[in-house]
Amino acid sequence: MSVKRKGNSTVTIFPDWCKGCGICAAFCPAKVMELNDQGKAVVLREEECINCGFCELHCPDFAIMVRPKVNDEIPAVCRAVLEKAARKPKTAASDGAAEKAGSGKQKG
């Protein structure tokens, strides 16, 4: 994780967990990701990533993982999230959950 040079990192987004808030795309100094037409973050310029750590620290949904290209193995807990996403091909379905907390209905 300590490699700060350009082109040495893999950037993975968990599409099921991303709510498309746009924080990563707005503040990434290397403009690595953008929101797609489904409102999900996608990695477009991975080679530009300087592994500054901003997106991992600020994604409110823990949906981005930046790893060095060497030692590329995805840890088991994160792999489970990705595999689950791959099994069900839905795209924007999880967005509904996003608005629930603030829907004005009290859950307390």
Partner: protein, 278 residues
């Protein structure tokens, strides 16, 4: 787990049997606080079982459900009372209280000032989004004068509390203010708040675009993070500004750090004295 970092580390501490993505809206800062809390506890080298997260009710309170420590989801405004009991009974436990601005300073305001006065050794994280997020956006004690909410459609006429000043006046041992944008500093404040004896408060400025931002001048959640980046500055820099310039900025940093023993330490000392007959 020892050398894990970033998102991998956070995923190690999440309860993966809960529903994800979590319940918070897109761009809600509460998720960033959860990440920061996890890094702070990991950074201090605490075991999951040595930590108890006590949450109130509100969107902020839901944070406790997602993380694999001892967790208690209590009632609105009363989290500090549960936490006080836990700390007195188990003084070795690191008790961390998660509350919203409404939770901690409206209904729970009295518990907050008295927890500070008593100096009970718990760490309060106050997730201040200037609004009652969960119940539909009513104004809270920290909704700024002049700003809009569901219950102040023409602008808030009342003054707002300054959480740092309130807790400082109530004699808390550790008082800091951070934001979910300046997150590395926030990690450090939470670590200090936990390791400092007695009552610690970290006020965390965190955006609620759904209930607050939209009704004010912020078009998107990202605009609220830009505001935090621009308007919140370190206390040292803030103190050097002219009075006129100060009005547009909010100071962040550590405001109070004392090492007075916590109530539970004094209690167990006294208990030992009584039992030993000295």
């Amino acid at each position: 787990m020892v050398d894990m970092k970033g998102t991998q580390l956070i995923h190690e501490y999440l309860r993966h049997n809960k529903k994800f993505p979590h319940v918070f809206c897109a761009g809600c800062g509460h998720g960033i606080v959860l990440g920061s809390l996890i890094r702070a506890i990991h950074g201090l080298g605490l075991k999951k079982d040595e930590v108890c997260v006590v949450a109130g009710i509100g969107c902020s309170g839901r944070l406790a459900a997602y993380v694999d420590f001892n967790t208690v989801h209590t009632t609105h405004g009363r989290a500090l009372t549960f936490a006080t009991g836990i700390k007195m009974a188990k003084p070795g436990m690191h008790v961390i209280v998660v509350m919203g601005d409404g939770d901690s300073m409206a209904i729970g305001g009295n518990h907050l000032i008295h927890a500070a006065r008593r100096n009970i050794g718990v760490t309060a994280l106050i997730l201040n989004n200037n609004i009652y997020g969960m119940t539909g956006g009513q104004c809270s004690p920290t909704t700024p004068s002049g700003s809009f909410s569901m219950t102040t459609p023409l602008g808030q006429m009342e003054q707002s509390f300054d959480c740092v000043e309130l807790c400082t006046a109530a004699k808390a041992n550790y008082v800091a203010r951070g934001t979910v944008f300046h997150v590395k500093k926030l990690d450090k404040m939470i670590m200090e708040g936990i390791s400092n004896p007695g009552f610690g408060v970290v006020e965390i400025l965190t955006p609620c675009h759904t209930q607050y931002g939209r009704k004010n001048k912020y078009k998107t959640p990202v605009d609220m993070y830009k505001m935090l980046k621009k308007d919140v500055i370190d206390i040292e820099r803030y103190n050097k500004l002219s009075e006129a310039d100060k009005a547009a900025k909010t100071p962040a940093g550590v405001f109070v750090q004392k090492d007075e023993s916590g109530l539970e330490e004094k209690f167990y000392e006294m208990a030992a004295r009584c039992q030993g007959g000295v």
